[in-house]
Amino acid sequence: MWTFLSGIFLGWGLGSNDSANIFGTGVAANIIKYRTAIILISICVLIGALLEGPKCFATVGMFSKLSTTTAFGAALAAGIIVALMSYLSLPVSTSQAIIGSLLGIGIIYGFADFGKLYKVIICWVLTPIGAMVVSIVLYKVLRFLFERVILDLRLRSFFLTGGLVVAGCYGAYALGANNVANVTGVYVGSGLLNPLGAAAIGGLSIASGVLTYSRKVMRTIGMRIVPMDAYSAVVSTLSQAITIHLFTQVGVPVSASQAIVGAIVGVGIIKDVKTVSKRMLAEIGIGWISTPLLSGLLSYSIMEVLRGGA
């Protein structure tokens, strides 16, 4: 049972951080109350994890043959890196953290399969790019609807508020479906849990992070995005959700944080305004290398310690 603790810790960290990508804008702009937002996210994350979460378990498990101890070490290393990067306010991807961890452990035991890594790396790179493309298309299509059909200001207000809530719920669903594999995929790989049990434990641990420790991050991230108008916020949230949901269908866990940044860049391209700083983009680029590398090193170190103690 203790082996699950590291996964629950990782899920908690994921929930506390990534909920900001979903409803940060709405909460910071007072469109939706924080309490309502976290309840909606928790429910939708759990539904997403249970219904579609198992689709990504195979990808997480394919890099290493896991035992109880290695599953524990991988989730612990990823959890620590996620917590550390969050503490330093750096955008962090749990997907990159857990894959890095698994590869680190795989190196020790000599079964790391770098050959399978290309598919995942392509998906990581395509996440912000894909979200950007989706947001550009969505912005244009929905703008046509809003400018030609919904002319009454009252209805516009209603549709934008409702749109933000619906997009947020879909985003939470997609997050649960895509990212639950990062949290408990290692336990499926090690045979400790069946996919449904892993989805349930993972979904609940993500929800626990959302419910207990997401306020600060949600405010911070929300404030970063809040200069956007409501329409752009709806489009970027929806684009992020569609993007990570698409990657769920190919079975690869990706970063929700990087998807939202890509979506915001897309909105900025359409509106010809600067929505994201070069620094934020550089941080994403650095994150692609540093997060898996640090997780790999840490999991390697943890396993060395555990092996030495054994």
Binding site: A29, N30, I31, R143, F146, E147, I150, L151, D152, L153, R154, L155, R156, S157, F158, L160, T161, D229, A230, Y231
Partner: protein
């Protein structure tokens, strides 16, 4: 529409506000006309009506503010709606100030200036008409026609500029006349109060312009 009840209430109140301001401006025009005809009792009566209508516009503004702060409209639009309502309320304030000045201080307008005062007052006050049309269009249930709103906002600007021209010419006539300096200053101050109405109308149209910009996608 139950799901947009707060927004509907705000819009109903704004539409009520623009009608009330129009009434207030017409009462102030009547005040000026009666005053220039030396019909002081009638002018006082109309000035009272102006005061009363201005108080009503204040009440409507406060009601709108209450609804806005309780969450009507999206936050990024809420502030601009509030600013617009405040700016519109100031139009009624300026009409009231103009009447109060006439009744309270009784500026003595020489006969050969009276028709100019009347023309400027009418032009200043009726620059409200395009603003009213623009606001009604923006908040129409059928949906806004931005081109009409923009055209009307532009019209307000043209009318305000015309009033400024007339004001400048009359000010020059006043100060080149043989009137005592105190009287010159006194009637010029009333002229300023009259033209202040079109200035406030233009301010409100600027707020409207900003609101149109915010509602654009």
């Amino acid at each position: 529409m139950i799901w947009v009840k707060k927004e509907s209430n705000v819009i109903d109140l704004i539409l009520k506000l623009i009608s009330k301001i129009e009434e207030c401006l017409r009462a102030s025009m009547d005040t000026i006309q009666h005053y220039l005809k030396a019909e002081i009792d009638e002018a006082k009566e109309m000035a009272k009506k102006t005061d009363h209508l201005e108080t009503e516009t204040d009440e409507i503004r406060r009601e709108v503010e209450g609804l806005l702060f309780s969450g009507a409209f999206l936050p990024n639009l809420r502030g601009d709606v509030h600013v617009l309502v405040e700016a519109m309320d100031k139009i009624a304030d300026s009409a009231e100030a103009c009447c109060d000045f006439a009744i309270g201080q009784r500026p003595e307008i020489p006969d050969d200036f009276k028709s100019d005062f009347l023309t400027i007052a009418a032009d200043s006050i009726y620059s409200y008409d395009p603003l009213k049309e623009a606001v009604e269009n923006l908040f129409s249930e059928k949906g806004k026609d931005v081109s009409i709103v923009r055209e009307m906002v532009k019209e307000v600007g043209i009318r305000e500029s015309d009033v400024d021209d007339l004001e400048w010419k009359l000010t020059r006539r006043i100060f080149t006349s043989a009137l005592p300096l105190a009287q010159k200053l006194h009637i010029q101050y009333w002229l300023e109060k009259i033209t202040n109405i079109s200035d406030r109308i233009e301010d409100a149209s600027d707020c409207l312009n900003s609101l149109i910009f915010k509602t654009r996608i």
